[in-house]
Symmetry: C2
Subunit: 306 residues, 2 copies
């Protein structure tokens, strides 16, 4: 019996919002369906934000309504505030993910609120969702938990303050995000352990970027301290607005290859996963696609015991 | 007092031998000097092989003779046999690195000998070198220790047989090479521990490729089981003859960034290291240069305690 690790595909949200071009809704939905068919257990399909700010997300309502009809996959939608969460609920999302920046600078730039004000907004989301007839999971994602391109180093104490506030607000799960990709493995271990000591298993996942080439190593470090849920994006989509040319989220294919090679069970079919890249080639013809496995092919040693 | 980790730059050897074009000798020597100036403690500068087989290495004798005049850097030359080792000695190399494939298929294809025959060749190298007036370190590099593109999975028992044979032959150090980049972190830990149990601290280093995107994670796994010496190539030069388009060796810049971020002392100046990429842009204009750090820049959190 292999131990399970959950991979959440965030390409349709975190990947596309940084893309140079806009993926057509039909291709986006076909891509999401193909990812579900490859065995992805969770997919973050869009965000309920103003289309004026992020035009790539203008079709999120349509995309969520289509995606929740797929079988066996948890459909996540990002919402920065109560109104977005209400839209996610109305569209039928299984889970809403609310970002909370740990650093003041990123919080102001991204949400126009202080971290404490955003924690209070999350509490309002929790209160509203819990009063609805349908259950919807509430995840809070702690952005810039490992460093901020505006504020620089982020004290662990600030991460703990936000994590404790979110746990007290009653969210179902908290994830830590290396939004700009500044983290290193020792830091991942230290911060994860510190947050686990405060909120226990409410700390559910890591969201990692590969900006400095350390993304997969950081996932390994998280795995070693008990994290069993990782965000990733097909072909490493995502970029970083503060690092032109840098790759984005950690590459789903490479992460899954590592996890399965190490004996973990992701439930994902690697061949089918790799085949999903055609939707990116078709829908985002100007985007650079990353990933070692896709270029080299699945090695003949995969899942062969030595 | 930070713990030391040694990074050996292998770009001028493992990187260039796969390059589409041939770097001019003057640029190669200037690049090597700049790397030494950036604090690289060890540089593998070429290999004494037939120029008919690898024309990019035809100037190795000139390159070694120039490099050994640099201060404070150990100059390594690869030699596949006694004759090559004699050439390395004559040129003044501080260390000769002799490859020994663990897998039969790679050994036959690369060296036209069985692994056992190549271990015997290493013994001849040791005997000859020890009889010379000047000391030259002898390293044996176990190729395909984590998998082979010809033979597939490589049994740990085969690695142990070769490692024990090399230790018995009297080499100064043994390194394990993931020649084709098939390794995953759990395998790195298992094989390294098994070899350490047999030959102890004679196991000195890891040579990793980033074919599947796991190279830096594999370095982290090695670090965790006590490895303190890693080969890497500037800009991830190297490619893999069996994986077109795949990146090559692990990226020196990203590895050094990770190590220094984690509190290890590499003795390398990251700014000067990044500046060395200009020799690649100049000397190998058609080569793709990899690396997260080079694209994103050194983050403002580098070496700032949180």
């Amino acid at each position: 019996m292999r131990e399970k690790v959950t991979v959440c595909e965030v390409g349709p949200r975190d990947g596309l919002q940084m893309a140079k071009s806009r993926m057509q809704t039909e291709i986006k939905s076909a891509w999401i369906a193909a990812m579900a068919g490859a065995g992805l257990p969770e997919i973050e399909v869009g965000s309920f934000v103003s289309p004026k700010v992020i035009p790539q997300m203008a079709d999120t309502d349509i995309v969520v309504r289509a995606a929740v009809k797929l079988q066996g996959v948890i459909i996540v939608a990002l919402a920065p505030n109560l109104r977005g969460a209400q839209n996610a609920y109305e569209a039928g999302a299984h889970r809403v993910s609310v970002p909370v920046s740990v650093s003041e600078g990123h919080s102001r730039a991204n949400l126009n609120r202080s971290p404490a004000e955003q924690v209070a907004e999350v509490a309002r989301v929790v209160e509203w969702v819990r009063a609805q007839p349908r259950q919807m999971e509430i995840e809070a994602a702690c952005s810039t938990a490992f460093g901020c391109s505006i504020d620089g180093a982020v004290p662990t104490a600030a991460v703990l303050t936000v994590a404790n506030g979110l746990a007290a607000a009653g969210v179902d799960m908290v994830t830590l995000a290396d939004t700009v990709g500044y983290a290193h493995p020792a830091q991942i271990r230290d911060v994860v352990r510190a947050v686990q000591a405060e909120i226990g298993s409410k700390l559910d996942g890591l969201h990692l970027h590969d900006t400095m080439g350390l993304g997969i190593a950081n996932a390994l470090a998280g795995l070693e301290v008990g994290v069993r849920n990782f965000d990733a994006a097909l072909a490493g989509l995502g970029g970083c607005p503060f690092a032109p040319g840098a790759s984005g989220n950690i590459v789903t294919e490479d992460l899954v290859f590592m996890l399965e090679s190490m004996g973990f069970d992701t439930g994902i079919d690697l061949d089918k996963l790799l085949a999903c890249r055609r939707y990116l080639a078709e829908g985002l013809p100007n985007e650079g696609l990353h990933g070692g496995l896709a270029q080299a092919g699945i090695p003949k040693t995969f899942r062969v015991a030595a």
